[in-house]
Symmetry: C2
Subunit: 362 residues, 2 copies
Amino acid sequence: MKQINVKPKANSYTIYIGSKINIVNIIQKINRELSLGNKAILITNFTLRHLHRDALNKLAVLRPEVIALPDSERIKSFRYCMKLIKVISKFDYKNKIFLIGWGGGVIGDLTGFTAAIYRRGISYIQVPTTLLAQVDASIGGKTAVDIEKGKNLVGTFWQPRSVIIDTTFLNTLPVHQIKEGLSEVLKYALISQKSLLRYLETNHAKVFAKSTKTMEKIVYECARIKAGIVTKDEKEDLGIRTILNFGHTFAHAIEAASSYKISHGKAVALGIIAALRLSELETGLNPEITKRIQALMEKLKLPLRLKRDRKFWKRVEKHMRFDKKFIHNTTRFVLLEALEKPVIKEKISISAIRRSLEFIKP
Amino acid sequence: MKQINVKPKANSYTIYIGSKINIVNIIQKINRELSLGNKAILITNFTLRHLHRDALNKLAVLRPEVIALPDSERIKSFRYCMKLIKVISKFDYKNKIFLIGWGGGVIGDLTGFTAAIYRRGISYIQVPTTLLAQVDASIGGKTAVDIEKGKNLVGTFWQPRSVIIDTTFLNTLPVHQIKEGLSEVLKYALISQKSLLRYLETNHAKVFAKSTKTMEKIVYECARIKAGIVTKDEKEDLGIRTILNFGHTFAHAIEAASSYKISHGKAVALGIIAALRLSELETGLNPEITKRIQALMEKLKLPLRLKRDRKFWKRVEKHMRFDKKFIHNTTRFVLLEALEKPVIKEKISISAIRRSLEFIKP
């Protein structure tokens, strides 16, 4: 088992990464050290309660209350959070409660946000079970829920007391969910670690075979990159954390334009290609890098192009102008000057954005 | 106009205190310095929108959206916050919005909590209009809303970017609302400033005459005390901020036992007497101090005793065992050793608590 320390100003915590790790032991150890509470409330979904019943049974010694929610994106909502708080407040009599979010990004975000606002903040632990949550969502304390008006519009920064990652959970993950995470893995490689790019180029087959060693290596490297960035800029106000949005300005617009029919992972893959193309135009990035990434993305079974009508692309453009990340009339993009060299550029022209979008049309 | 700086770790800000102060000028100045946003959303209630129409009209230059809510405690709820967020998100297109909470504690708490969770935190300014909000609730960044299960169970720490206090707003405040604030004023005097106690003993008549000079002096001294404490212990995790709970453990139990029919201010007055009595028993506080405070409280028209049946007092006891402030089976009390000498005591016996409660029965 490997450990990574995340040290934001407010609270430092440890990420534990391994396969078939003893989760109970780790939680008990953390609880001894940090006095999280005497009553664990584990939040998961129906699918995972079934799939992970052996792992969950091992937690019996903690006597957790297990709350299983529908396996649906819609539980990541303000309304559902209110319901969840009603339930957890029942266990709060004579007890000090803490939460465990056992699941993917949806469960993690809902659990984190609930922990952030209940009694002005209680402790929570993340046990991410998808590749996307293991490499990205579970680390960094960004919590959020959706409202009708938009995604992630309600949230806080609230750090977990620990993130416990068992990569064997990925064994039951369907291929499309592995791919959801791979776009983010690719992003980390581009902004921060060339060697991870080479590793993916060599080991892509092992990824889909879910080789334990390969998955552990990939998750560890990504978690380490994210932890480093979050440590330097916990609340995204120093411009350092912003580089994690590489490819995401395009991605968010593509997701929104599709009314969220196109998944985040697919949108990020397309967004990365568009951002590489925009980098060629704006920073003079070597086009060979774009070609190299396109070749790797094919091997990783990620989409390079998107077939949609003219109206769709108009919507993408419109959303890009009002993305949460570059709201208020400055179009701020994370671009690459070279591998491992992200830069933030403002005032990108709409024509450059259009030329980049052309690049991901068939 | 006087200024007080609050300097918690996360964000420092200024409290402006005066009578007939130029609120627009101050907001514009803060906005220039801190870039709060280009769209102000002012949250108030129907009563204040009418009572303060002149002051509010002067804000026209800011082109704020004014949202007036019912003048009721029930708007301080998770449900209402959700509604409010729906409304404010409408103004968030192409704009950077910030909130102004114009009202008493209910408006201030709802505004602060909404600002805390919208887009992971936006700026807000407090314009407290009651004595209680001016001396206490508006300062310190404790935000909260109620859920069915209990008061203030959902909330965060989120500091305002400024607190603007115009003591002339107190002129339209009914006497019972002045008294609501006086209990807290008395608390500050006891835990931190003997001279304020003497000031109240000499000037109590001027308080009820709402003398501008007197109100400004009292609000300024209390705000200064609270600002000092909050600066040292923003999130109540260092035990310093805890002293602000003097009298409040009893008070919360009395409020809850009455199903919130007894107001916070009255409950705090009674709680202070009980806490002084408990201090006599536990720390050897000189009983002359209790007598002196009782005499002052009569002059301030605050209740010294409460007539209720046996069942009521049983409920008070029960609530005290599970108060949010001393949950998890340690009964933690703020007591006084002497004037200006608060101490935190744990493991107070139930018999001492009962003897203290006897003291506020007729």
